[in-house]
């Protein structure tokens, strides 16, 4: 269950005529959806209280309303030669480009790994050795090779998402039901038809899961990479704001980063549900 849609799709409260017993009316008030909203409100409330207790200077913790006010300034005037939207756009462009490249390379390669034993034997040790290395550990090497421009960051993100897509695709393809493959063969399917009509549809939920995981880790990697080397982007914005002690911008940047991660996750879950509704039902 994702928090957002349950928040807005809370079960309609039963009308009093339907439920004459008054004790039953109190029960549905604390639905999980409402508890989620309550938790967020409590967090903001606590934040406000702390910020206005007079014990913590605004330099350390600006209040929620100050951060919100800063949003207006950032959206119009901007920070470090770029508006919030331009920073956001720069980060999103990088991750989407990385995603596109990772999907274009990862799915065919993953299918190859899943279907051809030789390809798997050759690629598997490399992928397994490279996957657990934290991307920021090889970022310096990428910077030495490709400079500190856009290219380095896109390569870093692509590699990060690629690992997840590749492994998920290979796994999905390898675990296609042998009975389904045989059923299709006995109906006259060629090798290509097997791939298009059985292997890829069955692996699709796994592939989307791989993309989801890749985007999640890719986003954190990107922001971290922007902290290190960039002239635009959300990570850069937060980093340079910290150097100028603009704490409100730092907090706002963190909130935007969290929101984007959350939106990506929700979007992909919706996509998965739309593309592969059968995956939710045991078969």
């Amino acid at each position: 269950m994702n928090p957002l849609d349950t928040t807005f799709e809370a079960a309609p409260a039963p009308s009093p005529e339907e439920l004459p017993d008054s004790t039953d009316q109190a029960a549905p008030r604390l639905t999980p959806a409402r508890l989620r909203v309550l938790s967020l409100l409590a967090f903001v409330g606590l934040w406000w209280l702390l910020a206005h207790s007079g014990k913590i200077p605004p330099l350390f913790l600006p209040g929620p309303e100050a951060v919100l006010a800063k949003l207006g300034v950032l959206a119009t005037v901007g920070f470090m030669d770029a508006t919030l939207w331009q920073h956001l756009g720069a980060s999103l462009a990088r991750i989407l480009l990385g995603l596109a490249l990772a999907v274009l390379i990862g799915i065919p390669l993953g299918v190859l790994m899943g279907r051809v034993d030789v390809a798997r034997a050759l690629l598997d040790p490399l992928v397994e050795a490279w996957r657990p290395v934290p991307p920021l550990a090889y970022l310096p090497l990428i910077v030495i090779w490709f400079g500190i421009g856009e290219l380095s960051k896109v390569i870093l993100i692509t590699l990060q998402i690629l690992a997840a897509v590749l492994i998920a695709t290979a796994h999905g393809v390898r675990h296609v039901s042998p009975e389904r493959l045989r059923a299709a063969e006995s109906l006259g399917a060629s090798r290509r038809q097997l791939l298009w009509h059985v292997v890829l549809p069955e692996a699709l939920p796994d592939i989307v899961t791989g993309i989801r995981i890749g985007l999640g880790t890719g986003w954190s990697t990107l922001v971290a990479a922007e902290l290190v080397a960039a002239t635009r982007g959300l990570g850069f914005m937060v980093q340079s704001a910290a150097q100028f002690l603009a704490t409100d911008v730092v907090v706002l940047g963190i909130l935007v980063i969290a929101l984007v991660a959350f939106a990506l996750e929700l979007g992909l879950r919706a996509l998965q549900q739309h593309l592969a509704p059968w995956a939710l039902h045991k078969n």
Partner: protein, 261 residues
């Protein structure tokens, strides 16, 4: 006349001491509903995989209309125990799947699918998703898919094994109806002696260690069902019961011999 036959086939899996099948010969004629029955591990599925072309024998030949079988093909459709349906397609598209692979155009294959769904008593489910079906309905879709394709033989591996007793009886009668109307030969595997006796025109009793045919019977009850007699009357017929006891007797005798050896 389409006939599917094995001639002295043997199959050994690597690492297995005894052959999964040793010197098995059988002939399934165009009008036959051949049934293989026997204890677990006696090579029934191996035999079906040979007939389907999924595996090749180590010795002997598999022939379809006199031609050697070397690969799976659309002339021999397989029905699996759990259906092996494609959950990303709805019922109608599952049934039409074989025709789609053959390049039959959309309108024609949908019409054919609806026709076959009618035959398996499932016309109302054409637009449903696979995960909305009961086990018995899934099996009907699996059978319909095999029937919609231009296959001439149906190969069925314990098609009703996962169904409850009541649904199982319904499906047996459905199979006899479909077999009569679609003019195809059938090779069916089962663990259920009553089912085997009721359906088979030829019944192959098999035994493990090594996998082989130990007895062939021609019960003839499915012909009586076709002639209009009721399923319950047939299954309580003294001759039916006597034949069942005879087969069980043979199975237990073989088991004792094997244990003694």
């Amino acid at each position: 006349m389409a006939t599917l036959a094995t001639e002295h086939v043997s199959v050994s899996y690597p690492g297995q001491r005894l052959a999964a099948l040793a010197d098995v010969s059988l002939t399934i004629g165009a009008d036959d509903l051949a049934v293989a029955i026997g204890p677990s591990g006696c090579g029934k599925t191996t035999l079906l995989n040979l007939l389907a072309g999924f595996i090749r024998p180590n010795r002997g030949r598999v022939l379809f209309d006199g031609q050697p079988v070397t690969a799976p093909g659309a002339d021999r459709a397989v029905v699996f125990q759990h259906g092996a349906l494609l959950p990303w397609l709805n019922v109608r598209d599952n049934v039409a799947f074989g025709l789609r692979l053959q390049g039959v155009e959309r309108a024609a294959r949908r019409a054919r699918a609806d026709e076959v769904l009618e035959l398996v008593d499932l016309p109302q489910a054409a637009g449903r998703a696979i995960w909305q079906l009961s086990g018995g309905q899934k099996q009907r879709v699996g059978i319909a898919r095999a029937l919609a394709s231009p296959s001439r033989v149906l190969l069925m591996d314990e098609p009703f094994g996962a169904l409850d007793a009541f649904t199982r009886e319904q499906m047996q009668e459905l199979l006899l109806k479909v077999w009569a109307q679609s003019r195809r030969s059938v090779f069916l595997i089962t663990h259920d002696i009553d089912e085997a006796l009721f359906l088979a025109t030829r019944l192959y009793l098999m035994s493990p260690g090594p996998g082989r045919i130990v007895e062939e019977v021609q019960p003839g009850f499915s012909q009586r069902y076709r002639a209009g007699e009721s399923a319950r009357a047939i299954k309580s017929d003294p001759r039916f019961i006597a034949l069942r006891e005879h087969l069980l007797d043979t199975l237990f005798r073989l088991r004792r011999q094997e244990e003694a050896a």
